[in-house]
């Protein structure tokens, strides 16, 4: 498995490639119009390969969250195209897009992650229940075992620690065996020890289950758990790094900051 990355800021877009869990071609996103126009993404083409853990980094307003939201079918592009597998998201209506998210994509958010009125086990199976699908028992068993929640599965979120809650959220994202899991600063609300716990869990999901994960983060330590880091600035991909370490990422960020 090789990680293939295209950073085409000025060059013409490469031919569409259907391998990889998801990819984008010339993705652009503009908010507002006229004087208040903001370019969140400028012509970004990127590909996330299967079974890899990718981190997206960049300062506030660099477009990293927008990129993730558009790749995941949560938001729509102003121009360009994003694909999950070989499905072009812009061709889908709301219902089809919802079903795609439900069946092929998993999400882990920074906060507001779990339904407070459902217990841990119910939260994990929620996407399957929404789809009216029977869970794959063996798979679910493996995922639940990996969360290491033991006897706390019937507890409500407010009875769980922050780390436990986020492990439930990752398990939920993986419950339907999605093609790709997106994380929006999944450790942003956690202390460093709990963060490490969650990141190790995500790393294990990639290594043991071959899960594809894409995570937005601003923390170099978090990024060091990934296989590959993309650096965004001002709506463009400005750099990348394979097998990152925390120090290397930090240096890269510093140098990016100096460029500005």
């Amino acid at each position: 498995m090789t990680t293939t990355l295209q950073t085409t800021t000025d060059a013409p877009p490469p031919p569409a490639r259907v391998e990889g869990a998801a990819h984008s071609i010339g993705a652009s996103k503009v908010y507002g119009s006229g004087d208040t126009e903001v370019h969140a993404l400028r012509d970004v083409s990127v590909q996330f390969d299967e079974g890899r853990f990718t981190a997206i980094m960049g300062p506030s307003g660099s477009g990293k969250s927008t990129l993730m939201q558009c790749m995941a079918g949560l938001d729509r592009l102003s121009a360009g195209e994003t694909f999950v597998g070989d499905v072009a998201l812009s061709t889908l209506g709301d219902k089809a897009l919802t079903e795609l998210r439900r069946d092929r994509i998993g999400f882990v958010f920074q906060a507001f992650n779990l339904i407070p009125t459902l217990n841990a086990a119910e939260n994990i199976t929620l996407p399957l229940d929404l789809a009216g699908r029977k869970p794959d028992r063996d798979w679910l068993e493996q995922v639940v075992t990996a969360t290491d929640l033991g006897d706390r599965l019937d507890h409500r979120p407010n009875e769980l620690s922050g780390g436990q809650q986020q492990r439930v959220a990752v398990a939920r994202a993986m419950a339907s065996r999605p093609d790709i899991v997106f994380g929006d600063e999944p450790t942003g609300n956690l202390d460093s020890r709990t963060s490490a716990e969650i990141l190790a869990f995500m790393r294990a999901a990639v290594d043991e289950f071959g899960q594809t994960i894409v995570m937005v983060t601003h923390d170099p330590v978090s990024a060091s758990y990934s296989d590959h880091v993309l650096f965004l600035n001002d709506g463009r991909i400005v750099d990348e790094m394979t097998n990152p370490t925390a120090d290397a990422v930090l240096d890269k960020i510093k140098s990016l900051g100096a460029d500005r």
Partner: protein, 904 residues
């Protein structure tokens, strides 16, 4: 399935936020089911009462019913023996009864009547002997015999302090008489009532039914069927009597009772409907707020794969759960109301009552409650469907429909409503149900339309009125206006509401003044206390204006209640003004003698006419006639004196032709039938004979008559009896009118004590009736206003929860608890003020339309009851203050750090 489970969990998690919404549903559904339960129970009780009489006859003779009108006919008591002589009849028993219960009472030494307290009557009856009458037993003395002996129930004897052998004075149908207390009896199931009994001949005399019976009860001879007996009796009955088998009679009686109870029930249901309609807006608000509070959660659900439909179903289902719960509690609440009312009736009447819940009641309650919640959650559910998945990560409200579309929808809905109302009010010749439907749907649409449109001016209204100097000066002015109005235009008594009116007036003046002074001191920059003049006031104004739709929806609940209250108030005031106006112009007589529920012996007019100082007396009798196919009201006057006692306001012709087989016709009636002076009309009387009368004159508005007027001599040719309905009296010039009035009253006391009223008192009588009607309507609307009030509390509470973080932030940067409370209080006041203003405006417009639709003869011009309108506004302000008490305290007590940490 999952969404349903989620909805159920959602309800449980938001229990606190749904309490007030549930109360709104419970109140509305309780009113609906209570109306059904009460009507069913009363019907059941009365049916049981009729059926429980085991000693029932087989058939009964009573007066034959007339097709229309009334006649002074009676059944002679000699008929009893004649009927009993028939071989088919086993036994015939004559019965006399007396219906006007207020006529009989023992009078104490000071001339005061001794009566049971609230909801009790003195019931006069005939002594039939201990063995004949179930539940009656002699405690002391011997059975009453003769015209001067009476049996009295033990509770009455005790209250009057009388023992057997005592002499007593009693008012009867034929004036005051002296009696000896012959018997003290014990009567079962009396309740709060007192009971009197005389022997049969004495009862005939004292009930003013000499030689008459009301009913003859028949038992068939052995081996004879009821049908055969009835057929045999019919052969010998005089024209005015009819015989009916008891089974038929009971069926007719039950049908009559059920018919009347159905009318009462439907009127109650109408008011319940208004209360429910109001609660729709509250439910809508609650769910709209719940949706905005759960943006993140809904966004997350959408992100992980819930479809729009699933999200919508979730909201609707949550509402339905609340609806089912609220409806069931509502049925229990309704049962409670009905049971309470029945308990009072049982205590007062002595009847055994039972409270009946029919399955139909529960089904209707559930449909109504569930329907109301589902319909009102529809819009919020659409809103929830529009929440974007990205909302899980951002803080953004879903896009609402555009203002332009809202104006278009609002205007269209209002227009349709107004058109329906106009058709209902001004297009004649429709059936009652069509009319009711047009008016009901028309007003509902108008209210909904105005609610949609009102969001547009909620912002500007609050922006203007919410300014400290405007609000301060305005409140002070309104408060001051109250006593000024009371003592200038009003009579200074304020009706029954003097105390409350003064209280709200003082509260308004004090609050207004303090607000204004705070503003003068420059409080608008640094909030002082909880005054509207301070920062608190500014925040309140901004908050109320921030979500004008919510402010409008909350206010609309109040608007509806207040609109109906003020519409009735204005119509009532207009009625009073018109009647007073006409009466002042047209009444020439000095006195009117009459009674609402009985006729007056013809002898009274003769004796009054004979008094010194009485110039003229005119007898007036009312009945019905048939003209063509229609039954119409007719009044008979003495042609030679009638027009000198009242001004008929004759526009064409004159009263002169009246005596000569003439008739006077009201102008509206004459227009409808294209009648002119000199035309001949065929008029059928109660005796089924028709007479050709000549139109002598056409008259306009006058205080007494609105239909047909004929001469007494013509009337007497067709209607038997010598009783008058009203006797009009005029005094000779220079007489002592006070002494004369006393003399007339003294004569009246010998004839069932009719009311003796002068022109001013006549007007007052009309006013009192209008006031009573307004009072009843307002009481029934009380529940609607309560629901609206709950709605205001509900919205404010939910807004406070929603703004927890914001309040925490304000507290953290130094806002005091007092200022927090002030901000919330003033927001609540502004919402209420907006609702009240809109409500009064709509109410006046509705009333104006209604008055225009009512013939000028009844109500000519719109008159506005300024005092009550002002009172309503001030009460709304006060209600706003009260509504904010709980939410304000809650907000002030928020822990600052927790509040800031709150993420949702």
């Amino acid at each position: 399935m999952k969404m349903i489970q989620l909805a159920a969990r959602g309800v449980r998690a938001s229990l606190g936020r749904l309490v007030l919404t549930t109360i709104a549903i419970v109140t509305g559904v309780g009113f609906v089911s209570g109306s059904f339960i009460l009507a069913d129970s009363l019907s059941n009780t009365l049916d049981a009462l009729i059926a429980s009489d085991t000693d029932t006859p087989d058939a009964q003779i009573s007066l034959a019913k007339l097709e229309f009108g009334h006649d002074d006919r009676s059944i002679p008591d000699t008929l009893t023996a004649e009927v009993e002589a028939l071989p088919e009849v086993g036994e015939a028993e004559a019965v006399v009864t007396y219906e006007r219960l207020e006529d009989f009472a023992i009078v104490d030494d000071d001339g005061r009547e001794i009566k049971p307290g609230f909801a009790g009557f003195v019931v006069p009856g005939v002594w039939n002997g201990e063995e004949q009458e179930e539940g009656v037993s002699i405690v002391d003395g011997a059975p009453p015999a003769g015209i001067d002996q009476v049996a009295v129930s033990s509770n009455y004897a005790e209250k009057a302090g009388l023992a057997v052998g005592d002499q007593l004075t009693m008012n009867t149908a034929v004036g005051q008489r002296r009696f000896e207390l012959a018997t003290i009896i014990e009567v079962a199931d009396l309740g709060r009532n007192f009971y009197l009994a005389f022997d049969f001949p004495a009862a005939q005399t004292l009930f003013d039914k000499e030689g008459q019976v009301d009913v003859i009860q028949l038992t068939r001879a052995s081996g004879v069927s009821t049908e055969r007996m009835v057929a045999a009796v019919e052969q010998i009955l005089p024209e005015q009597a009819a015989v009916q088998s008891f089974d038929d009679l009971i069926a007719e009686l039950s049908a009559g009772i059920d018919g009347q109870l159905t009318i009462v029930r439907n009127v109650l249901l109408g008011f319940a409907g208004i209360a429910l309609f109001v609660s729709l807006f509250i439910i809508y608000n609650t769910f709209a707020i719940l949706v905005t509070q759960r943006l993140h959660q809904i966004g997350m659900l959408r992100a992980i794969g819930a479809t729009k439909g699933q999200v919508r179903v979730g909201v609707i289902f949550e509402a339905m759960l609340v609806g089912i719960f609220g409806s069931l509690v509502g049925v229990v609440f309704g049962y409670g109301i009905a049971y309470g009312l029945q308990f009072i009736i049982e205590r007062a009447s002595g009847f055994d009552t039972s409270t009946v819940i029919q399955p139909r009641t529960v089904v209707v309650a559930l449909i109504v409650g569930l329907g109301a919640t589902t319909v009102s959650a529809l819009l919020p559910s659409l809103l929830a469907g529009r929440v974007s998945p990205v909302a899980a990560m951002r803080s953004e409200a879903p896009s609402r429909s555009s203002a332009r579309r809202r104006v278009a929808t609002g205007s269209a809905v209002t227009a349709v409503g107004v058109v329906l109302l106009t058709i209902g009010l001004f297009v004649g010749g429709q059936g009652t149900s069509a009319l009711v439907a047009e008016l009901a749907i028309g007003s509902v649409l108008t209210f909904v339309g105005v609610a949609l449109l009102s969001a547009l001016f909620a912002g500007p209204f609050v922006g203007f009125v919410g300014q400290a100097p405007v609000l301060g000066a305005g409140l002070f002015g309104l408060g001051l206006a109250m006593p000024v109005l009371m003592f200038t235009i009003g009579d200074g008594t304020g009706g029954l509401m003097f105390g409350p009116k003064m209280v709200v007036s003082i509260v308004a003046m004090v609050t207004g003044a303090s607000t204004f002074i705070t503003w003068l001191r420059g409080g608008r920059r640094f909030g002082l206390g909880g005054s509207a003049g301070g920062l608190a006031g500014r925040l309140a104004r901004q908050n109320a204006a921030r979500s004008p739709r919510r402010t409008a929806a909350t206010a609309t609940a109040l608007t509806i209640g207040i609109a109906v209250v003020s519409a009735f108030g204005v119509v009532g005031e207009s009625l009073k003004a018109t009647q007073g106006d006409v009466a002042a112009r047209a009444i020439r007589a000095d006195l009117f003698v009459g009674s609402d529920d009985t006729t007056i012996d013809g002898e009274l007019a003769d004796r009054v006419a004979a008094l010194d100082g009485v110039a003229e007396v005119s007898r007036i009798r009312y009945n019905e006639i048939r003209v063509g196919d229609d039954v119409e009201e007719v009044a008979a006057y003495e042609a030679d004196t009638g027009d000198r006692l009242i001004d008929f306001a004759i526009s064409v012709g004159s009263v002169d032709g009246l005596a000569d087989n003439g008739v006077l016709v009201y102008s509206d009636v004459a227009d409808d039938r294209s009648l002119d002076v000199g035309d001949t009309v065929a008029v059928e009387f109660v005796d089924q004979r028709t007479e050709q009368l000549v139109v002598a004159g056409i008259f306009d508005d006058n205080p007494l008559e609105k239909g047909w007027v004929i001469d007494l001599s013509v009337y007497e040719r067709h209607v038997s009896g010598t009783d008058d309905d009203v006797v009009a009296v005029s005094f000779a010039e220079g007489t002592d009118s006070e002494a004369l009035v006393a003399s007339v009253e003294a004569i009246g006391e010998q004839f069932a004590s009719p009311d003796v009223l002068n022109a001013a008192e006549m007007t007052e009588d009309v006013e009192n009736e209008a006031n009573l009607l307004i009072w009843i309507v307002n009481s029934l609307l009380g529940l609607t206003l309560f629901v609206a009030f709950i709605g205001v509390v509900n919205t404010i509470v939910l807004s406070v929860i929603e703004r927890t973080r914001e309040v925490g932030l304000l507290r953290a940067v130094g806002m005091t608890q007092r200022q927090v409370k002030g901000a919330i209080r003033w927001e609540s006041v502004m919402v209420c003020l907006f609702g009240a203003t809109l409500g009064i405006g709509l109410g006046v417009v509705f009333a104006w339309a209604a008055v225009s639709a009512i013939p000028d003869g009844d109500i000519a011009n719109v008159a506005i009851p300024y005092e009550s309108v002002l009172f309503t506004v001030l009460v709304a302000v006060l209600a706003g203050v009260v509504a904010a008490v709980i939410p304000a305290r809650r907000a002030a007590k928020l822990d600052v750090l927790d509040a800031i940490a709150t993420t949702g």
